[in-house]
């Protein structure tokens, strides 16, 4: 009997996992948020569907937490330190202040919609306070589009680092409610406990990451065991930190971030293995949470829950993001996109289990409402990310054509790897470009025969070239082997019609297009002018409006110098004009203008709603339109 039950459980479990894995084919085809499918498969198999009765909340929380630890380690491991640096400050602000603000705004509404007490409303806010790393990563990468670096990094780092904050808030609030402590008595203790959790988490993460790297590099483990070893160590970091009173989730993310950015042995194998583990963890987590839910209870609470989801998507998150990003000078379309990609996911449902475990009064309400909010978020936001990114002009055309490349792992060293490129027709190497010496081209295979690179002569399409190279190879090599990118009309729109040499003096540009430069700017090079206008740092795809033309950064070298630029003749004519999300700089400029226009200056209200500050685009109000910096009245022809 025991054995039969075991087989049955395994049979059902594996079938569910297989169905989920299979559904990924559908998801890629239809662009559906895959995680939504996993969740739905869990729901369909559950108590109100096929009738699998799984109601063990503590088991679900246990497995879910383990899965989340694995996912967070992998997302840290896959985050390059360059993109982390680029977006760390705004992303961490979003992951901390942003989560708190979202929680507060959400709680304000939840208090009235659900008739909760303050603590309960706050708890509800904390449960849905964080964005879901799995959902964000999947939807930003898999859609086949390339979102601008800065925005993508911000979102990815935010989503993988805001879970600890939401988890901390939720656990704290559940304890407060369970113990019946009023909020006012907790003030200082709360701060201390927060500092302890995060401080210990950070520190343990760093130390754990160092230990992982040095152990893997020092011990000569069996190749197949290394990934298991690393996963086990990461879970050790997670659990030990938790035992020591720190945030295990933060620690495991930091450890991953550290290990992934060090020279670590068999990094490609590790990446592949963790990729698989993350998929498995996601499938398990979503399936299990789907199974745990009782959808027949949903209708009773659907209306207020959907109302709260709409409030979260359209008001709480945008407001929190806008306020948090104010000091960071994000463009309006960037802020708009960041606030839209506030996908809620498994973590919110996972946290909604905590009130159940704490035997709180409204525990089922929390769980069901959180579940509905996650569903709405995945459907509404998950499905619209791609079109929105295109509409906002945040999609970057691919920089190089496809590359045909295999990475081979070498035994005995962490510092080198063997790359095999297939030479594609019309790639730079096929048209006579030489491979640099540092790339150590070793072997060429042509028509099944191998020869040394020195004797192979000019490379031909279809050749395989083997290069022995330091594992930190520059992008340059990919570029040499890439197939050419045809110039597309989309590209002309993105990069501008004409090319501009950024080394030329800005006054030449002024002479050709009358771009309204100040006297001191005439002395600069175009590179310096653009960098200055961009606030000191140019990034691929940045755009600068200069009176009637727009200059676009087409490429930036390793030192941040602009090496290629384009000129567009109708700046932003097809960009939507977003009336909200002004940055601090825009608001300051706006206020200055107001003060200048009306003497004596009017009283400026503190913290006015963003819409009242926007240039009057479609309002009937007969104010003169006020072009804010970086913004041009859209000129239609």
């Amino acid at each position: 009997m025991m054995l039969e039950a075991m087989y049955l459980v395994i049979l059902i479990g594996t079938l569910l996992v297989l169905i989920s894995a299979f559904s990924s084919l559908l998801a890629f085809r239809f662009g559906a948020p895959l995680l939504l499918l996993f969740l739905c498969i869990g729901l369909a198999a559950g108590v109100d569907g096929l009738g699998i009765n799984f109601s063990n909340a503590s088991a679900a929380y246990f497995i879910g937490s383990l899965a989340l630890a694995i996912i967070l380690f992998d997302s840290g491991f896959g985050t390059s330190i360059q993109s982390f640096r680029q977006a760390a400050a705004p992303a961490i602000a979003l992951a901390t202040i942003g989560v708190v603000l979202t929680t507060l705004f959400f709680a304000l509404a939840a208090r009235f919609v659900f008739d909760f007490g303050w603590l309960e409303a706050l708890l509800f806010g904390a449960i849905v306070g964080s964005t879901d790393a799995a959902a964000v990563f999947f939807l930003l990468r898999i859609g086949g589009i390339n979102i601008r670096d800065k925005v993508r990094s911000t979102l990815e780092i935010e989503s993988s680092s805001n879970d600890p904050m939401a988890i901390f808030l939720t656990i704290t609030l559940v304890q407060l409610i369970a113990n019946g402590t009023p909020l006012s008595e907790m003030g200082v203790d709360l701060l201390i406990s927060f500092g302890l959790q995060m401080g210990v988490g950070l520190l343990a993460g760093f130390i754990g990451g160092m230990i992982i790297v040095s152990l893997v590099n020092r011990l000569n483990l069996e190749r197949g065991l290394t990934p298991i070893f690393v996963i086990a160590l990461s879970l050790l970091v997670f659990s030990a930190t938790g035992v020591a009173g720190g945030s295990g989730f933060l620690a495991v993310y930091v450890a991953g971030l550290y290990a992934g950015n060090r020279q670590i042995r068999s990094a490609p194998t590790l990446k592949r293995f963790q990729d698989g583990m993350t998929w498995l963890a996601q499938i398990l987590m979503f399936l299990l949470l789907g199974l745990l839910a009782t959808p027949s209870q949903f209708p009773a609470i659907a209306v207020p829950a959907i109302a709260m989801a709409v409030f979260l998507i359209f008001i709480a998150r945008p407001l929190a993001v806008w306020l948090t990003l104010l000091p960071f000078d994000y463009k309006r379309e960037e802020t708009a996109f960041v606030s839209w990609v506030g996908l809620r996911g498994a973590v919110s449902i996972l946290l909604a289990i905590l009130p159940l475990l704490g035997n709180l009064e409204n525990a089922t309400t929390f769980f069901n409402a959180a579940f509905i909010i996650v569903l709405v978020s995945l459907i509404v936001q998950g499905w619209t990310i791609n079109p929105l990114a295109r509409r906002l002009g945040l999609v970057v055309p691919a920089r190089i054509g496809p590359v045909d490349k295999v990475e081979l792992e070498l035994p005995g060293t962490a510092l080198h790897e063997l790359l095999a490129y297939r030479v594609v027709p019309d790639s730079p190497v096929a048209t006579g470009e030489r491979i640099p010496r540092w790339a150590r081209p070793s072997l060429v295979i042509r028509d099944g025969k191998s020869m040394r690179y020195q004797y192979a002569g000019r490379l031909q399409a279809g050749d395989y070239v083997y290069l022995f190279i330091s594992s930190r190879y520059p992008r340059l090599l990919d570029r040499l082997f890439a197939s050419p990118l045809p110039v597309q009309s989309d590209d002309a729109e993105f990069f501008g019609e004409f090319s501009i040499d950024p080394q030329r003096p800005a006054k030449d540009l002024h002479a050709a297009y009358d771009i309204g430069l100040a006297k001191d700017e005439l002395e600069l090079s175009i590179d310096a002018l653009l960098t200055k206008r961009l606030g000191g740092k140019a990034e691929f795809g940045d755009r600068v409006v200069l009176k009637n033309v727009e200059i676009i950064v087409r490429d930036v070298d390793d030192q941040g110098r602009i090496t290629s630029a384009g000129l567009s003749l109708d700046p932003d004519s097809n960009r939507p004009n977003i009336p909200v999300f002004l940055s601090a700089r825009e608001i300051a400029a706006h206020l200055r203008q107001r003060v200048k226009r009306r003497q004596p200056p009017p009283k400026t209200p503190l913290g006015p709603p963003p819409s009242s500050l926007a240039p009057a685009t479609d309002s009937t109000d007969d104010q003169e339109p006020q072009p804010a910096p970086g913004e041009k009245q859209s000129a239609s022809d």
Binding site: A492, E497, D501, A512, N548, V549, A565, L569
Partner: protein, 154 residues
């Protein structure tokens, strides 16, 4: 801004022979000098100056050299179809065989840019470009360039 407003029927060179970018620009300048009465030298200088800022080759074998001149009465265009494509240092490294020269008076400001943008858009249309390449009659080329206008005008 219709192309017929800035391109005269006699400003079309249907089968220009040129061996280099410099020679091509000179030929265009000389044609523009005939139309405007300015000297070939000053026109050539202005468009060369613009080329130094970056090639006006926009890809797909098309170039749109341009510049501003103080003494010009209005916006003037010259179109040339080349017998043999030549290297124009274009972004996509493709040799160029369709060239639209645009000259504008110093004060033209936004009109100058609108005209440029219009030309770029017309020459981005694959059908028009194929027809232009296939024809060596000035009148036919003129029609292709300007009729597209009528159907495409927004």
């Amino acid at each position: 801004m219709a192309l017929a407003d800035l391109l005269a029927p006699d400003a079309v060179i249907p089968a220009l022979k040129a061996n280099s970018k410099k020679q091509l620009l000179q030929e265009l300048a000389s044609k523009a000098a005939q139309i405007t009465g300015l000297t070939e030298r000053e026109i050539f200088e202005v468009i060369l100056q613009r080329e130094r800022l970056g090639s006006t080759g926009v890809g797909n074998g098309i170039a749109i050299p341009h510049g501003k001149l103080t003494t010009l009465p209005g916006i003037v265009g010259v179109f040339a179809r080349l017998d043999q494509p030549i290297d124009f240092e274009a972004l996509d490294d493709q040799p160029v065989d369709l060239v639209f020269l645009l000259l504008a008076p110093e004060g033209a400001g936004a009109d100058h840019l609108k005209a440029l943008s219009r030309i770029a858009r017309v020459l981005r249309d694959q059908d028009t470009v194929a027809k232009l390449r296939a024809s060596d009659q000035a009148s036919a080329i003129y029609t292709f360039l300007t009729q597209d206008e009528a159907s495409n005008a927004a």
